[in-house]
Every structure is written in C-alpha cells, then in structure tokens.
Amino acid sequence: MRYLSEYRDPTIAKKLIEDIKKISKKPVKFMEVCGTHTVSISKNGIRQVLPENISLLSGPGCPVCVTANGDIDKAIAIAEAPGVIFTTFGDMMKVPGSYSSLSEKSADGADIRVVYSTLDALKIAKNNPDKKVVFFAVGFETTAPTIALSILEAERQGIKNYFIYSVHKMVPPAMAALLNLGEVKLDGFICPGHVSAIIGSKPYEFIARDHKISCVIAGFEPIDILQSISMLVKQVENGEAKVEIGYKRGVSSLGNTKAQEVMKKVFEACDAEWRGIGVIPESGLSLRTNFEGFDASKIFDVDVPPTKEHLGCSCGEILRGVKLPYDCKLFGKACTPENPIGPCMVSTEGSCAAYYRYGEVVDGV
C-alpha cells in the first residue's frame, strides 16, 4: 500500500476494520503520541469504528501542549525585554502562560512576530542589526534540526543578534516516562510519523525490549492509522513487542542521519520540564557550550514570578493519557478554541481542540 488512492479506498478501510475485529480479542489501550495523529483519528472517526475492546488515548505529542507554564512565562518576559524582537511559530501565540500570553503582550505593544521558519527569524535579525532577535525554539525531533541549522547559519554569516530560547523536547524519553509512571497500562504506541522521519525506528527499540510494549510508526491517512492499529493488535495477540514501520514512504530505520548529525553538533540532551508530567531526565535539548552565545536563556536574565496553573484545567492528565478531554469540567463550557484556558485547546493539534472541533463522542477510558 503506497498511494493515497489506496489510503482513501473505503473497501480497504472496511477490510482493515474487519481484520482488526476478527483478530482483536484482548482489551487493549494504544496511545497515539503525535498531535497530528490525534487530529486524524478524531476527524475520521477512527475511535468509533474500532471494536469496543480497543481504546485509543492521546499522549504528550503536541510540542505546544507540553511546553511548561514556566517556560512560556520566561518566553514572555524575554519578549518584553527592551530592544527585543521576539519570533515564534504561530501556534505558540495564544497559549496562556501563568499570567498572560504572547498574543496579549503583542497587543500591549511588544514586538512579537509570527514566522514560518528560522530562516525568516534570521532574516529579521539581519534586517534589524540594532535589535536582539529571539526565536522561541519549540518542537520535537522534526523541528530541532532546522533550528540547529539556523544557529550554524547565524555563526557562518556572523549574525550576532540572533538567539534562541530552546524548550525543545524529545519524544522517546517522554514515552518511557509515561510507562515508568505506570498510571495507565498501555499495550502499544502509535509512533509519530515525522519525528520518526528524522530519528528512524531505532530509538523506540528500548521501549519494545525493556518495557515489552509494541510500537508501530504510522502515517497520517485514516488507512495508515488503521493499518498501524492492525499491526499493533497482531503483535499483542501474538504476545510480541517490537518496533514496526507502517509509514515506509516517509520513514527508514536509520532516519535522516544528516539531520541527526546537525542536531548533535549544536544541541545536547538536558533535563526538561513537560506540562503535566514534570521534569524528564535527558528529554530536552540545550545548546552546547560552544554555541552558548546564541542561548537566550543565558543572555537574558529575566525574573519571573512563581508559575500558576489554571484551576480546573486537566491538560496535564490528558497529556498523560489519564483523562480524556470530555472528562475536563471546563471542556466546551468555560474552555473553547475561541477562549482557551489550556494549551490542549489552543493548539490545532491539541486533544481538546481536536475533540471539540470534530465533536467526538467517546465512552470513558
């Protein structure tokens, strides 16, 4: 199966669903770790076509959603520092920190600009030599190499007024952290497609080996996802736990080694705080000491008041797979995409936004 004509073919979908129903006996919980998968699953009503013994949970797979309040507060403080042009991917604008959001600060007059890539941020730095241009470096392994390149490029061109505030995170350590927490008993992971395009399939192997949890890397079409679920079900029913690639057109076992090298050259692993999960050792990426001059967290000495979580928001539990969006009392009432209280409702890939947008009705976990 390679092309969309086949991914869209309802007879293939039907056959996959029938296959799943036929082979799936045990009650299982699979977690999709990628926000784009969450959207595709909700949009295509995949939960509803699966047999009742299969539950799908959304995990910590949206970089916007897992950014800790404290990191947003610091980003906002940097954006407000004198002489700063703060650049960010659009998704981060409306995410509330403890007291405010970038979007509110922008309305108050801070120079905050939405960019599509670090290339744009670098251009802004070049065009505004008297300003300090800071890029809010948010993302997983898909994004990290592109940001690493911007640092190498700034160095090559001698751009001295470009900095990044890195809250980068890596996916496999978060998957392991959830398993170690032991709050939800998972049987398999639907692994993210484009993170895996960079890292390949090997970094998930310890999860299959040490935790005995099945992993399948999935594409984003409904049939991709159904196929991955059927691969997971087969593994579980056969008593196996291994890493398989269901998204061969985008992912190889080694991934993009060039991108991995760039990432390694610029970044090193560091402990990072995840919303709802806390600090996960070696799950973040910070600039290596020889690139310290580009590190906004070292250059800007900002003071932020203690962080404050939003009363009643269940984003943390949702990101850990402990609750579904409907379990949050604020869902669809006090909290909507127009007036979001937590990041899971802000980001288009957040679970709450996906459930809200596609009106998903699901029984409790």
Binding site: G35, T36, V39, V114, Y116, T143, P192, H194, G250, E349
Partner: protein, 85 residues
C-alpha cells in the same frame, strides 16, 4: 506542528537553498538536511527545510491530503500576508 508537507523543487539557488512549490506557492527552502536534490524532485518540507526526499507519486498524493487538512492554506496565507518581514 511536526507535520511536514511535500513540495516540488523549482529552482536551485546558492548556499543550499531552493525555491520549492508548496500548494501552488513558491517558498524558499533550505536543502542542508538532504543530499543530491535536483530540480523537479519532491521533498518533504518542515519549518522551512526539506527533511527528506520523496518520490513524485507519493508526493502528489500527500499534497492532496494536506490540502484537505488545510496546512498548505495556512502556509500560503502566512506568505501572502507577508507577516514575515
């Protein structure tokens, strides 16, 4: 946010840059993360950089998907409004 979209390489430029057509709009894309890209080939683009090469048929089918999701529109809008200055 980790979604990558397919695009066709229209023009190779200096310093490992290329113009890539994504959803009918030409965008400048960095080629530093991929090897031996030629004009007419397709790449998977994420945050301004090509992160993988893909074959033509696969790329075209993926484009249809992303058009539906609206991701390509968003990129085009950002470019047209010239929010990046």
């Amino acid at each position: 946010m980790c979604l990558a979209v397919p695009g066709k390489v229209v023009r190779l430029k200096d310093l490992d840059m290329a113009d890539v057509e994504i959803g009918g709009v030409e965008t400048e894309v960095g080629l530093q993360l991929v090897s031996d890209v030629k004009v007419g080939e397709y790449v998977l683009v994420h945050a301004g950089y090509a992160i993988n090469k893909i074959d033509e048929e696969g790329a075209k089918e993926m484009m249809k998907l992303f058009e539906e999701i609206g991701e390509l529109d968003e990129i085009a809008k950002l470019r047209e409004n010239d929010e990046i200055s």
